[in-house]
């Protein structure tokens, strides 16, 4: 694996209304790596993503994506695909799945594609996530899982070098979650792109990620999933937990009464 860092975060601190949201967070993501950014809700995971995307600029520390400060340069944007956290679209917005996926090909600075090239990109991306059957369905008629796959296809249609996913399984039923994770594993193998997936659910990410970063304001762990200990989980989630290893999956289980 090439060790060139795609994402570099060093000594990152961020506060909101005088409250620490992130404190001295450092990690890096190398080319082709799949990083699972885990931690409890409110632990600062989404804030890290927003900083990587240049949406939050009032931070201290060093943050670079493809070697540049995210908010100062737009060139890198066409190289990044983003799947946002549970999205509230305008109700009954009149677009088909294919229209939504096509939006992913139109980032600023993206190459000018012909109509046919764009159509092919859309169809390829939808096929990659198994969403071809919904191509001509209005987005508001899709279930949570189907919609999420379409949004992943939107992120992939720009042929990104880095994919950022924020809680992609939230709002998706159990069966949909399994399917979604299977597809993530499959296209990850096919594309070999760099991935950062944010989730509060350790079980979701452990079988897929090369590395886990456990975040609750501070970074409590940053290593391979099989090195993750109950102690690290307890520190990050603030509750006693035991880890159950099965089929490479590492869900955390709460074993005594506690208060988050």
């Amino acid at each position: 694996m090439n060790a060139e860092p795609i994402v570099e975060v060093r000594g990152l601190c961020f506060s909101y209304d005088a409250q620490n949201v992130l404190k001295d967070v450092s990690f890096q993501v190398e080319r082709g790596e799949f990083l699972g950014l885990i931690g409890p809700n409110g632990g600062g995971k989404t804030t890290v993503l927003r900083i990587l995307l240049g949406l939050e600029t009032d931070y201290r520390g060093i943050v670079t994506v493809f070697g540049v400060v995210p908010s100062r340069n737009h060139e890198w944007r066409r190289r990044v695909g983003v799947v946002p956290q549970v999205q509230q679209f305008p109700p009954r917005f009149p677009v088909l799945a294919r229209d939504v996926v096509e939006m992913g090909t139109r980032a600023r600075g993206a190459p000018n594609l012909t109509r046919v090239e764009r159509k092919n990109r859309v169809e390829e991306a939808l096929e990659l996530v198994g969403a071809t059957p919904y191509i001509d369905k209005p987005i508001y008629q899709l279930s949570g899982g189907q919609r999420q796959r379409v949004l992943i296809a939107r992120a992939l249609s720009g042929k990104p070098d880095l994919l950022l996913l924020d809680e992609p399984t939230v709002g998706v039923d159990a069966e949909g979650q399994d399917l979604l994770l299977q597809w993530i594993a499959k296209w990850r193998k096919q594309t070999q792109i760099t991935v950062v997936l944010v989730t509060h659910d350790v079980g979701v990410i452990a079988p897929l990620a090369d590395k886990l970063a456990c975040l609750n304001i501070e970074l409590h762990f940053h290593d391979r999933p099989d090195k993750l200990t109950g102690e690290a989980i307890q520190k990050a989630y603030g509750c006693p937990a035991e880890l159950i290893f099965h089929s490479g999956i590492v869900p955390h289980r709460v074993v005594s009464e506690h208060r988050h």
């Binding site: 983003v82 946002p84 999205q87 679209f89 305008p90 009149p94 139109r106 600075g109």
Partner: protein, 268 residues
Amino acid sequence: MHFIELLSYGFVLRAILAAALLGVACGVLSFFVVQRSLAFMGHGVAHSLVAGVGIAVLFDWPVFWPVLITAILVSTAVGWITERKQVSEDSAIGITLSAALAFGIVLVSLKKGYVADLETYLFGSLLAVLPQDLVMLGVLTLLISVTAIWKWKLLLMFAFDSEGTAISGYPVRVIRYGLLSLLAIMIAVAMKIVGILLVGAFLVIPAAAAGFWSARAGRVVWLSVLFALISAIGGMLLSISLDTPAGAAIVLMLVTFFGLSRIFGRLN
């Protein structure tokens, strides 16, 4: 006066042409108003124009510029307050529109004998359309239509997912304030014809009705323009033949389209 005879008058033809231009422009803008949930914003800006009318009446100025400046100031202020997330958008609109409305009423009441004029602005008037209004409306309609066609894909992305559009590297603040400004200018210009009280409806109903017929945004916009255009011209002719305020007749036509679309629309 006979209906056909009325149509031969220049001011009547001017009013019909103005209504048609208004239909096209509002039909396009209506899509963004409905999808970006700006309906209350439209009503808020329209009602706050009483302040602009009040200033014009008090100082004996032509109404257009004070009204236009009020519209832009109010819509920008609401956008600015909302962006800071200290007050919700509907509260920001509620506060701003009440303040502007109260200010306008006080100004108008300081100048005695202008009640009738204020009514003209509240309900709109056929007679109020001047040749220069027509030019302004034509330029504005052209600007809105050309922008919508030229930047359609970007505007669609913004309407669907503004944060995603920002992430894709586009200047979302410029688009948001540009849209709010166009909306404000449109309301200021449309006020003379359909009136302060009803201009908001013109910006909501066409696209809301069109949404019952298609799940493709482009088609919804074309249908929205068609509904608005037919309602504008039909409502104008109706108001001429029945001698009723034009704005009310146009809005009743629009409401009829909405009702029929709700019942017979393909996507019900």
